[in-house]
Structures are given as C-alpha cells and as structure tokens.
Symmetry: D2
C-alpha cells in the first residue's frame, strides 16, 4: 500500500478534527454540530451521503432526550458552527450519517462503523489534564469526550479522505457509518432497523484504548457483554405520613423491595451475568408517603441468552414489587446491546494480514475479558444474519486516565495507525478467503 | 338469691372438675374426653344436649389438625376415661357441646359461653408449680391448660348444676355453650355458622384472670383486638445451588421479601394495628435453591375494619412477593376474631346489679387496654346482629404466672364467685331494662 | 373588656398585614423581610424588642439552609422591602423576634407564641384560588403560606397593638414570641435553648384551622405527635457495574435495606407510632455501583417516649444496614418536637372563661385526634419544667383547601376573633385559680 | 502390568464389597461399620493401619453430629456387623482410616484418597431402582450411597489387595487414605491437620461418574468450586405480638434481611461465584415475635479468592442484619473446600501413560465445567504446598440417575477399570518426569 505518505500528510488535519470534536463535545442524539461537519466533509469528498431519518428509524431510537433539550442543543450547535444546511434533517435527534463510495469494480460492500457521541460528564479543568491545559477541553458543560469517540469520528473522516486517494485500487463499495448515541447502547438499533446494514458483506467496528497497549491490535474483541437498560417508574398514592399513612401506596418501598430483589436474581451457570440499579429516586417530602419512584437499571450477560434471562427475571421482580405495595409499574427500554461475536473467518483474515504494518508491534486474535457493553454488536448480528462477516477491532493506545474518567485523554498517534490499518484491509477485502466464508459474496 | 349455700356445697366438685380437666388437658378440636364428660353431666342433669355436627359447622372450622392426629387423640381420650357413647358424634374434630334448659316461663334466651381447649404447650414440672406439686399437671405431653379454660369449663358445669336448683325462679330459656378451639381463635365461627347463637337474646362470655385483680369484675371487656390468622405456602422450583442456580425459583427469598413487606404495612390512623410473621420455615438443604417456604402470620386491629385493611394489604404483599420470585402462593385462614364490642345496655345493667355480691370488691364497667384476641367476639356480633345484647365479663383472680406461661395457675376461689354472679344475673334477666334494648325480647 | 371597637378599627390593618406576608412568603430561617417588619412595628409600639442571636441559639437550630441560599434570600428580602436596620442581626438564619411589654404591676409573665415561616411549596395560580385572583399570591417561587402562619404573624401584631391600648388594665409582663422555621419542627428548640421561655409563667401557642369549625375554639389541643426528623447519608464505594462490581460498596442497597427495616419497626402497644422515609435518592449513573444515598425520614409517637423508642430503633436499623453493605452512615437531626401536653389547669381556666366572647359559638376543652406535629410543644415543655402553665389553642375557621395544599386559604374573620379572645385572657391572667397551679406565680 | 488376571479374580469381591457398603450406608462421621471393615481388611493384608484420632484432628472436624446421634449410630454399626475391636478408636466421630505399605525400595510416597460416607437421603424403594430390586438398597433410614462413595471405598480396598500382589514391582511407599464426611466438605481438613498428607509426594483423588461417559477418564478435573458452608443463628428477644410487640427483637426479620442481603452480594468479575441460603427456620409460634432464627448457607467461587471474598461479604451482611434488629448473631463453619487445581505435570504424565489401558476409550487432560465442590482439594493444596504433585481423576460410568438422586446407581464395571488404571500408575510413579517436578523427590 502506498498510503503511508498520504497519512503523514493528514496528521495535522487529524489532530485538528479530533480536538475540534473534543472541544465541542455533544452527547447522544444531540451530535448536531459533529454530524453536520461530518456530512459536509463527506459530501465535499464526493461520497453519496445520507443523514437523518434516511439512516435512523425513529421508533427504534432509545433514550432520546426530551424535546426541549433537543431544541436547545440544536440552537447551541448552530451557535457553535454547525453546517446549517444539514440541520433540518438532523433536528429532533436523527444524528446519524452514512456515506457510500462506489468503486465501479465488482466486490464486496465493506462497511466501517464509528461513533459520534460524548458522555454526560463534566470534563476536568485541572492543569494536568492536557485538553484543559491546551485549550480544547469541552466547552459544553456536563458533556465530555471521555471514551474516545472524538478519535473514532476522526478515524472515520481520515478513512474517507484516504479512500478517495486509493479509489483506483479498491473494488466493491465502501460504506462509512457514523453512529449517534453509542453511550448507553441507544443508537445502533435505529440504524439497523433503517436498513443501513442490510447490504453489508464485511463489517468492521473500531475502538481505541480499552486497556490494550500501544502498538497492539485486537482483531476480534469478544469481551463485550450483552446488556439491557431499563427506566422504571413506580406510581403509588401519596398520603400524609402522620395523619393517615394507611391511605398511601408507597412507591419508595416498592422500589426498595425491587432493588433488593433485582440484585438477588440468581447467578447463571452458563456464564457471567450482571445487574445494577444505578439510580433510585423516590418521594417528594419527608412527611409524605412517597407516591412516585424511579429506577435506572441495567442487566448484562456473557451471552444474549443470559441477558434475556436476567431481563425476564428483572421484569418479574419489578411487577411483583409493585403488586406488593399496590402501586403501578411502567418501564421503558433505554438501551440494549448483544454480546460480541466476531466472525472467526474475518478475525483470522485480519490476524494474518496486518502484522508488520506501521505502528503495529503485536497482533492479537481475540480478547474476551468480560467488561462493558457496545451496541455495534447489534449491527454485527444483522450483518451475520444476512450472510456477511463482522468483527470488532481495538487499537491500543496510552490513556491518561480510564475510559469515562473526567481526565480521560489518549495518545493521538493511534489515529494514523488505525486509519492506515483499516484502509489496508480495504485493499485486501476482495480476497477469496473472505469470499468463501461470506455467503453473499 | 338463695344460691349461696348451694355453691358452697359445690366447692369440692368444682375443684375436682377443674383439676381433672387440667390433668387431662386437650388442645383445640381434640377435646374429646372433656366434651364427653361435659355432655354426660349435662344430660344427667336433665338438659337438652346437642353435640358434634349439630352445633359445629364442618366447613367453618379453622385450624383443624390432620386426620391422623385427630384419630390418635380420640384413642387417647378413650384410654383416659372419655364417656364412650358421645365419642362417635365428637370424632373428627366436632367437639362442641350445647345444652338448653327450658324453664316453661316466658322470658329471654340467656346464653353463657365457656371454652374447653388447652394450649399446645409443655407444662412445667417444677416443684414450685402447684399442679406439678399436687399431682394434677397435664398428663398429655405438649398440652397444657395455661389460659384457664379448665376453670371456664368448670364454671359452665357449676352453672348447670345451680340452674337446676334455681329452675323455679328462672324464666325464659338458659343455654350453655361449651366451645372448642378458642386458642388460635378457630372454633367460634363454626358454632355461629351452625346457628347456635341465632335464638339468643342475652349473651355472656366469661374469662378469669387477664390481669384483673382478685375481687374485681369487668362487666364489658372491650380490649380484644380483631385478628386474622393465615397459614401461607410458597411453592417454587428447587435447583442445585452450585450447578444451575438459574433454574430455580426461590421460595425462601419470596418468604423473606414477604416478611419484610408484611411488617412494613403502614400503621393505621384509626387505631391500633398489629402484624406478626411468627413462624417461617423454608428450604430443604444447604446446597439446594429452596423450593418451598411456609409462614404462619397474624394481623390484628383495634377494630375489625382495621384488621380487614391489614389483611387486604397482607394478601397483596404475599401475592407480590410470590410474583417477584416466580413462585406460587397459597394461603388458608387459620383463625379469626372480631374486636370486642359489648352492648352498652347489658354492660350498664350488669354494672348496676352485681356490686356487693359475695367475693366482689370492685365492679368496673369497661376495660379497653388493647391486648390479645378472643373469638367469642364472633358470637357476640351474631347476637347483636339479630337484635340481642352481648357482653364479655372478666372475673379477676391471682395468677401464679401470666396466661400462656408454662407455670400458669390461678386461685380456684374465683370459680364459685363467677358462678354465683353469673347465676344471679340469670335471675334478673327478664328485667324491663334489658327488654327495652333487646329488639327481640 | 372594652377591646371590641379597638379590634374593629384594626380589621383593615389585619387584612393588609396578612396579605402582605402571604404575598412575600418566606420559608424557614429566611423570614428576613417578615421578621424585620415585625420587629420594626413592635419597637414602634414601644415594646422592648430582641432579635437574632439574642433569641436564637445558633447550635440548636435544625435544618438551616446552605449559606448561599441564606445570602440570596437576604438580598431578595432587601429588594422586597425589608426594614434594613434589622437585617444585620437576622442575617444567616437568626430570624426570631421577641417583644416584652412591662406593665409595671405585679403579675405573671404571659407569653404568646406565633410562627413566621411559609412552606416550600409552589402556590396555585388558578383563578379559583383567592390569593391568585385578588393578587396577593406568593411572589416567591416555591414558597407559600399554605399553613396559615401569615395569619398567626398577623395575630401576633394585632395583639401587640391591642395590648398597648389595654396596658392600664394589664398586670405582670406580656411577652410576644415570633418563631421562625416551625415547618419541619426546626425552630422552637433554638429559642428554648436561648432562654426565651425561662421566665414564662403562662404560655399560649395558637393555630387557626386544623379541621376545627368556624366559631369553635379548642382550649388545649393535645393531638400533636412527638416527632424526630433525620437526614441520613450512606457513603459507599462506586465501581463500574459491568467491569468490577465486586469492588463497590453499594449505598443504594444499604438505603433500600434501611427503608424496609425502618418501616418494619414494631408498633408500640403504649400508643400511636409512625415512621416514614419520605425521600430516598441514590446513585449517579445507570452503570455505576451507587456510592452515595440520602434519606429524609421522620418518626412520630403519641408520647415522646414512644418517639424516642422509634428513634432508637431507627438508628439501629440505619447502622446495621450500613454495616451490611460495608458503607458509612451519617445522620443529622433535622427537626424534633414533643407530643402536646397542655396544662389541665390552664385548659380548664380558659374553658371556663371564653364562652360567649364575640365570634365563639362552641368551646372545646381538649381535642386529641393524633395527626401532625408542632414544635411549640418544646416551648410548652420548658415552661412546664420551670413550673409554669402552657397550652395550645386552636381557632376554627373555614379553609379553601387543607393545610399544606397549594390552594390553601382561610376566612380572615378568624383573625379578630383570635386576637380578642387571646387579649381577653390577658386581662384575666392574674387570677388566683392560675396562681395556685403555677409554682412560680 | 500383569495385573489384569488379578483384577478379574477380584470382580466378585468388588461387587460384594460395593453392595455391602451400599446396603449399610452410613453418613458423614458415623461410618463406624464401614471404617471398621476397611481397617480390618487392610490390617489383614499386612498394611500398617492408623485410625481414629491418629488420622483425624478433633478440632478441625466440621459438621459433626450431636453426641447422642453418634452414640446411636455406633450401636447400630455394632448390630450391623462392625468389627468390634476397631470401634473404640472410631467412636465419637473419628472414622478415618490410613494404611501404609512400605515397599523397601526408594521412591516417592504415592497416596490415593477415597471417601467413605453416604448422604442423608432416603433411598428409593421403587422396583426400577436396581439396589431395591436386587436387595442391596440401604437398610438405614434416611441414609443412602447416592454419590458413589460405596464404589470409591471398594476401589480403595481393591487397590489394597492388588498392591500386595504387585509389591515386588513397586518402589517407595503406598498410602491409602479413606476419608470420612466428604459430603458437606467436612472431613478432609481434619485429616490434613492431623498431618496425613505431610509426607506425600504424589496424590491422586478419585471420583466415578460426574457426567463423564463410560470409557472416558479425566486426568485432572478442575471444575470444582471453592466453597464455604456456614450455620448461622440469630438470637433475639421474643414478645407477645399483640400485647407488647415493641418489647421484642425480631430474629426472623434479621434472617429475612440477611437472606436478601446475601443473595444480593455482587457478582465477581474474576470468575463464577455462588451464594445460597438453603434453609431458614425462624420463630416458635404465630403470635410471638420470633426470638430465634437459623440459616444454613454456602458460598462458592471459581477460585478460593472469590469464595473468600463472598465469605467476607456474607459475614458483613449477617452482622449488619443482626445489628438492624438488635439481635445476636453467631456462626459456625460447617464445611469448606478449595477450588480444584491439579498439578499440570502430574496431569500430563497420567495423560501420556494411560491411553489404551483396559476399559479406557478416551483420555481427557482437564475438564473445567464449574459445578459442585469437593474437599479433596484441601488435601491437594497441602500436598502442593509441601512440594508434591496432586491431581483429581474421574472415571466415567453410566448412571441410572444423577448424583444425589434417590435413584442413583452406577455401572459396577467402572470399578476394575479404575483399580487397574490407578495401580498401573503406581508402577510408573518413580518416573524421572515426575521426580523433576516434585520438589521433594
């Protein structure tokens, strides 16, 4: 591949993009500025760009903020330099972007997925935190790129530039997917349901960091747990706690019973499981029998089957706890993801092709320490269901602090390494080895 | 009244009866020997005697022992001197006796109710305990007259003898009711449903002791709490706790959730309430997810309305707790009683008539310290519903230890005092003052 | 008494005061404007006025807002017409006022206590709500006089004016006590500890409404429950709920266990008890093992002994729940009051003197329905401990909605009735009947 | 090896032993008859036999039955043909046997461990159950060899006979360990603490069945979970639930809180964990605040570190739950075992030597499905700590029903296969390959 010099030339642009996105951090479903800049650049490069409801199924979105929050965020994006002509399509929380590059030569549809969103977290202003020290810390209060998605978006744009230069060497079709709302595993399903993955033969999702050392690349990370996120409300009857406590139906006690019952769901012999009631808020005043309570909870499982069993038990616990206190229970799915199952053939192919590429010291086939969750897994499953191959690659880098920490930062050298490696794979993607395994090719 | 000498003559017999019943203590629904001796004596005296299913409605009995227990107790009664000809009618737990004495003169039906049963308690063998010292402690293991019902039965028989002597001075009809299974408030309902109370104009239930001083008589005790007794079973699915805990449905956890939820039922602003899970037994082995759990619980209320609200909430808690763990819940009513509401007119009448009778130093109208429960209240309500007047009298006496204690004993001097007072009231029972208030008279 | 015409002349001023205080509602410890106007008027009338730390013991205050809240409220009070010269003494939450009127004649110290504070509640803007319709609804967001303390403050000022006119007929000393922060039972203790009650021979606290009919006066309300308010914090260790849940110490589960354990504290056989966890807030994010939880709770008892037992049990539950999860527990007393025990001699005296006064149709000696709580009881106890007599009077009036309701309003006709009655009692206060019972007189 | 014919000759004896032990099933610590027969046979063969306190450390025994149970079982053993001269040493629950055979040639100490005890389980009398049909079902009510230890004991005796025949070909010392009370993981520690394992260079524990197919041998089973068994007692204060519930301290509620808290102990990210409260029994009567409660619980972990963390958390939960209710908590260790960590060198050695032996179709190195627990692991750890090598072998066989099922039975053909294989290994045990890894050899 002759991409080396091209990437070196890109370095300043990569740094500029990453820091601009970091500075203007936008959390899930309000990535209006970020998505508009991405769409504008992709269209400028000559990609066929789709945004908004074309690539996001409205009803499949999870955890969308309230309308006023969306409206305020849109105004802020406009003020902070969003490309105005894209905003109407993105407004209301449809912040996905998909770009296609047709090579004109037969070959597979090769898709790359990156994510756009920041976390709901206040970034550190400490002088030891490089973004603060060098002036690119988030200017948006309570939002921070503390997981590296600013880097992922940059990788997506860097790939886009490179593929234009490499176009003559490519075959089939390149598809770049910029997903909103990965945090809370809320966004992937809406792109899957909009059909974005239906024509994909080969699929690669990417993450930087995650505890992998600089210079190491994981070809098929499979440690992500399947997960389900639920928002729960108990609605009872308030009453004066001194004058007539017997008139109340106590939503706080229902929530307390539920919290204990949820954490007491049995362990699963088939693999790791998790349960967490992360937030509980109940009651309105000290002397009032609490009439309302809300819970934010999540289940996880080493396999989707385990997670489904956890979810089934969780709903029984919630319903029963409500019945105990004579209160109503309602819940809303606030996020979900499957466990991560990379296609062995694609993992093997990558494993056998990328050793020795610039910046890569160590190539690891799979890595299955159970840990967090990731909703690219929903995309991967759709690709596999339709006969394609899918994997999840991790590019190691040094971190200043762990993911989701207010002092998170990463070594930007990982960006050209990832772009080069991912682009290199595109040049090999029409290989017979892959065609054999992909039912569609 | 000319009863004085007659009662003095009775003293040795009263002592003999009381100690015989004490020695052969029989608990609820197995009072075969006691009931047969009572029936025999009453018939001998010339009363019209009904026993068994004539006075006990089978389906309204609560907390009846298992058939084998009933059968063994019947054999034991036979061995201990039961009057054999009554046993067929009593067999199977129909141990009530009702005796009528028609005076031939117009007047009210005046009913007295006493109870027959002992407690499931092992009597003390200590030398300081008079029944042990003097050789009349219970010969039946695990059964003891620790509440004074042996005295009550004796009062009933003493009254029966006296009324025969006083017959010429009486009017209307005398009805003597010997109830089984008062402990656990299990027996009264079955006599009510058999119609025993339907023709009663004036009703007096009696207790000795209860913290009332020797020489004091309470005309209308109204401190008994309404109560409901429930036996509850949770049935889940056992599983190996190491190999596949997720296959189980945990009945022990359902019971634990229920116990907490039951005790957390809100206090009632309209009066005293109570809840107690007295017994919980769950699980079969350390390494097995528990498939079954049983609870014995009770609710109480200062009024029957409060107790009903407690019961309604308790069932919701039980159902919800079962649903939380995916187990089945079944329950059985094991006892119930209403709160005690003596008829004011009858209380006033008694209050104004008994001062100065032998052995009475102090006459108290009502006494409403909330305490235990008593199922004569179910009879009282039936009487009142049909227009009659009803009360619950307490005759004070010194106790060696509290009711239900293994060293319980009482001063037998209370027996002639109670009999004399109750008989005296029968002589006044056709008074216009009572006729006015009793709708039926 | 020749007060009648004087009161009639006061009517417009009473209405003006009440509506001004209602419009500028200030909640507990921030009654800066209200207290300054009260102090200014009392000093103008010739009373000896004490405010701030002279009448408020700093360390005995409970539930004081954060310093920034106090500072903002002070500025708002200044903007809304507070009398500036009193503000330095009131600043920081020392909003009590005490005024003395020495008659120069021997006689008892007769104290009247009213309260100044509004509730933390948003007043209704509905057109059916008279304050909204007539333009005197609260101008302070989230604060509302929904309990009638605006009326109580007005009664205090009306009495102050009247006593100046009646001075020649009075003996002993009149003491007017304007208490802050009655809501949440937070303020009385600080005035007691400052010694405000130590010289009082006769004490009358006052409330309007509370379900008592217009025209009815209760001479000695004794239904208030003793109460204790606690703010509780559990501090554990947060952890990622997917990656390493075993590293966390779960404060939410501690709070849930505690909530159940608190509500399961046994009922008390000596009288009514109450427990309520009114507010529970725990956790920071769905996927984080919750590291903190806070509870706002209260216990109550028909007697202070019952409440103390409830509090003792509550603290055991809280400590145990923390230990179960390995988290720290800390609590703060946020309010407390005793049960209400009016002095029988004072109740009898009032009962026998006020029948037939203008506006009074019905005089009730005592009224003991258990209901809410009131911290004037702390003052009453101090008065009784030092040999004085104390009572709590209720003046009935029609309410537009119940106390603490956002549409609460009352019939202002109650104000002159209460002032006239309370002033009339001052004219009789040197009676031998009271002197006999008050050890100090 | 020329052992083949010798084993064939043994077949009738093996069947006789197995069925005799099966018929006279004795559970943990009361294996008086079984141990006496084993000791007698070993001594007869010429082994140096130690029994009782020589091989059992009294204080390290766990879950020993009450003295009267031990005494009755001893009498029963005597009645059922125990060899009387061994009983004095075994009496009181010291039912271990160790036999040494000194070859006179230098070489390692090679130990085999088998277990003696039956389960507390009633054996099926169904005609489909071979032991019932053929008349060797357990004659001891509530005790049954439902795990195969009758087979293990038989394997031990078969090996003993064979080693006498093979003595001339053996080197070093053979040590046969017959352990009591493996069920409930109660017995191994007492043999370890008595020093039985301290001189062992090579150690092989054995199990038949466990889901492994007939013909398959597992050289190093490593799926057993570390486990801790606790018996817990809560002691509170009983009280009458109607009359004075506030006087009680409720042990049942402490147990309920504990059960929920125990099951809510967080999952461990380092591997499988388990918790089970298998039995909860609380309270004495429906109307009594429960004064006592007992729990039987167990924790497990994929590693001993995880189990220790579970145990640490469990004790915090138990202590906190007791504190919540003001009751006392006491616990007793009722059993414990480590996770299974076979020495790789010994596993490899066995794996490479036994293929093709009679009855073996398939040799598996390791098998790590997490499942139950086994206290031979405590012996294995002691051997490894002192520089020896240890493993746990499984010999597959067909089962009529799962282990611990009342219809459990196995194909007795596995007995000669296991004996032959284990004896064959003794002939190779002085191999350099093993000497290299064992620090002591």
């Amino acid at each position: 591949m002759r991409a080396g010099p091209a990437i070196e030339a890109l370095r300043p642009q990569l740094k500029a993009w990453r820091r601009d996105f970091h500075h203007h951090a936008e959390s899930g479903w309000v990535e209006f500025r970020t998505a508009s800049i991405v769409a504008e650049e992709l269209e400028r490069l000559g990609y066929d760009v789709s945004v908004g409801r074309e690539v996001i199924d409205a009803d499949s979105r999870m955890g969308v903020p309230e309308p006023e929050v969306l409206a305020q965020a849109l105004e802020r994006a406009r003020d902070q330099g969003a490309v105005a002509r894209w905003l109407p399509a993105l407004a209301g929380g449809y912040t996905g972007v998909v770009a296609n590059l047709e090579t004109g030569r037969p070959g597979p549809v090769l898709a790359y997925r990156v994510d756009l969103d920041a976390l709901d977290l206040q970034e550190s202003g400490d002088g030891h935190h490089r973004p603060a020290r060098e002036g690119f810390a988030s200017c948006n209060a309570g939002m921070m790129h503390a997981c590296g998605h600013d880097g992922h978006t940059t990788i997506g744009l860097g790939l886009a530039r490179l593929f234009i230069e490499l176009k003559a060497q490519l075959s089939g079709r390149i598809k770049l997917i910029f997903q909103p709302a990965e945090e809370g595993v809320r966004g992937a399903r809406s792109m899957v349901e909009a059909g974005v993955l239906d024509d994909v033969d080969l699929f690669i999702a990417t993450h930087i960091g995650t505890g992998v050392a600089k210079g190491t690349v994981v070809c098929g990370h499979n440690g992500y747990l399947a997960t389900t996120k639920l928002d729960v409300t108990f609605t009872g009857v308030p009453a004066h706690a001194g004058a007539n406590p017997e008139s109340g139906n106590n939503a706080l006690l229902a929530a307390a019973q539920a919290a204990l019952g949820l954490h007491a769901i049995p362990r699963h012999s088939a693999g790791a499981s998790r349960i967490n009631v992360g937030v509980l808020s109940a009651g309105s005043g000290r002397n009032v029998v609490p009439g309302t309570a809300t819970l934010k909870l999540e289940t996880r499982g080493e396999t989707s089957e385990i997670d489904e069993e956890m979810q089934r038990r969780a709903l029984a616990v919630l319903r029963g706890a409500a019945a105990m206190q004579g209160v109503e229970m309602a819940y809303r799915l606030a996020g979900e993801a499957r466990n991560c199952e990379p296609s062995p053939a694609l993992v093997d192919f990558i494993h056998s092709h990328i050793a020795g590429l610039p910046g890569i010291d160590n190539v690891v086939a799979t890595e299955n320490r159970p840990s967090g969750s990731e909703d690219a897994t929903t995309m991967m499953q759709r690709v596999r269901e339709r006969g394609g191959l899918a994997t999840y690659m991790v590019f190691g880098t040094e971190l200043a602090a762990g993911h989701h920490h207010q002092c998170f930062d990463f070594d930007e050298d990982v960006l050209p390494v990832a772009i080069h490696t991912l682009a290199y794979l595109a040049l090999q993607a029409d290989a017979p080895a892959l065609r054999r395994h992909s039912e569609k090719s």
